[in-house]
């Protein structure tokens, strides 16, 4: 083997490994399917790696799920059918956008409920504060009012 072909072999070997590591690509019969494929791979969570969606993950399970997704899309299944299929096997866990209902209703409603509770607390605090001030003013008797006025008068004359 001469020097040039040896260099060529090395060069090919250097580029071969990253090429294999690339995420596989799928051909779609309809560009619209590809758009749905992209959005579904973003929404489905990798069951093994947990904090990645299957679009980002290179785990074998994600590869299998992407392959399954491609088959399902080409078979003409709707997004809901595909998501139901995945949830039936991997549980609600597999969706980054959980459905509205069941246990996940807590997830959807908790922020709104917490906000309402915070407003409630704020209202109560403000009301009890304003009540305290008005009650404080009203509690001055006529005698005390007169004394306050005379004191204020006196301050006014002194200055």
């Amino acid at each position: 083997m001469n020097r040039t072909s040896l260099l060529l072999v090395i060069a090919v070997a250097m580029f071969a490994a990253p090429a294999l590591a690339l995420i596989e690509t799928y051909d779609f019969s309809d560009p619209e399917l590809e758009v749905r494929y992209q959005s579904l791979t973003q929404e489905l969570r990798c069951p093994k790696c947990q904090n990645q969606n299957i679009a980002d993950s290179n785990a074998p399970i994600s590869q299998d799920l992407r392959k399954l997704l491609h088959q399902q899309l080409e078979a003409g299944e709707s997004d809901d059918e595909i998501l139901d299929h995945m949830v039936a096997r991997y549980g609600e866990f597999v969706r980054y956008r959980p459905s509205f209902g069941g246990v996940s209703i807590i997830l959807w409603l908790a922020p709104a409920l917490l906000l309402l509770a915070a407003f409630g607390v704020l209202l109560l605090t403000l009301r009890s504060k304003s009540r305290a001030t008005t009650a404080g003013v009203a509690s001055l008797s006529a005698e005390e009012q007169a004394r306050l006025a005379s004191l204020l008068n006196k301050v006014g004359q002194d200055s």
Partner: protein
């Protein structure tokens, strides 16, 4: 609320937070309940390892059994294998699901380390694994006599897991099956 009680509010909130976080320390976030609990074992039609007879979900029925998902590329499977041999010697019916593996490697594994399984389903492409919701080998499913999945354990089955989690349920189900 009495003003004195109000002073304790931050302490109470802190205690609640501390309890929640402390509980979080002992939880395993990678542990998920299977979506298939109390559902029938998914239908399949695959060949067995080292046999030509096609296997289906009906072959798992008739007794309470464990279905163990394993592969030769799975390091933890090698760790649990001796314990599976022991369980099978105790008479626990074990079925293997050889997941995304190569038949020759799997056969060599069984020849070298012993074969605790009544038969092995060869899931070469992982299609049954997808239907089962397998996300990492080893996984072990407790299947009752009517072919319904009753429990799933993800990770190595050892003495502790067997006696704490699997055996009590296995015994109850076996007794139920015997009285019927």
């Amino acid at each position: 609320m009495a003003p004195r009680l109000k002073l304790f509010l931050p302490l109470i909130l802190f205690a609640m937070l501390a309890i929640t976080l402390f509980r979080g320390l002992s939880l395993d976030p990678s542990e998920m309940p299977s979506a298939l609990i109390d559902r029938p074992f998914p239908a399949f039609n695959l060949t067995g390892l080292g046999q030509s007879r096609p296997l289906s979900q009906a072959d798992l029925e008739g007794q309470v059994s464990l279905v163990n998902v394993w592969a030769t590329w799975c390091v933890a499977c090698r760790v649990e294998h001796p314990y599976l041999n022991q369980l099978s010697q105790q008479g626990v019916p074990l079925f293997g699901l050889n997941y995304k593996d190569n038949d020759a490697d799997a056969q060599r594994w069984l020849d070298e380390l012993g074969n605790p399984y009544r038969f092995n389903i060869a899931d070469r492409d992982g299609t049954l694994g997808l239907d089962l919701g397998v996300y990492g080998a080893p996984e072990t499913y407790l299947v009752d006599a009517t072919g319904v999945i009753r429990y799933r354990h993800v990770g190595v089955v050892d003495e502790g897991v067997w006696s704490a989690l699997l055996e009590p349920l296995y015994q109850t189900l076996t007794e139920e099956n015997d009285t019927q």
